[in-house]
Subunit: 126 residues, 2 copies
Amino acid sequence: MGEMRIGQLAERAGVTTRTVRYYESLGLLPVPAREGSHRTYGEPDIARLRRIELLKRLGLSLDEVGEVISAYAEESPRAKRRVADVLRRHLAETESKLAELKAFRKELLFRIDLVEAYAERDERRR
Amino acid sequence: MGEMRIGQLAERAGVTTRTVRYYESLGLLPVPAREGSHRTYGEPDIARLRRIELLKRLGLSLDEVGEVISAYAEESPRAKRRVADVLRRHLAETESKLAELKAFRKELLFRIDLVEAYAERDERRR
DNA sequence: CCGTAAGTTGACGTTGACGTAAAGGTAGCG
DNA sequence: CGCTACCTTTACGTCAACGTCAACTTACGG
């Protein structure tokens, strides 16, 4: 009943086997069934890995992913709310960074415009 | 003519002395003047440190800060453009992350609403 | 049966951005 | 003179998130 082994899982989820074992050791992935000594996985594990990678891309640490992923699987509203809280926190952070970044870019683009205006004027005065 | 030493600079810029020396070793801060064996700094160094910390908060690595900070001090349009390029790249990344994060949050809030709706219904049916 | 690819555990290596400890130099105050 | 606060360099420690290597074992096609 083992749909696939660690190599295929890793490839289909876009990670390395090392990463799969590491996540397992951190409890981000459930301890898998074995066929003999080989870990075996199914489709849901791919989905779970992809969720983990998404959460990472969003800037969560693996610890935070741990909180969120386990709560994510649960049905209780309390768990869901915890997930939402973690995400909202990161959303707020990201939004403030974005605002700063935009302000910074604006200032820079402005200065570039200035310099280019000077350059053009110098062109015409030749 | 030494306006302050490393301890005061660090405190006023909100970093540690270790950080100041580290940044100096990376070339993020200019090699400072000395009074005897003690590094001395002025107001511009505070400003520079604050710019560095801002850039870090925006998600740049110290390497990238290095590119940006030196170019930032230069007057040439080419340098300014390089600064803008680095920042635009990070802006794009940040914006895409933000979009994902928003989608994720939306999905979560939706699920929370669902669960809460169930909870309420159960309340009324008691 | 043999070779090869893929899997196993265990342990050490890496990178970035500093922290921290050791072992001392120096400036000012009483 | 001696204390205290602050400074100096050198060097090893840390943490996250894996990479990499060693030394096997297992599974499968020819």
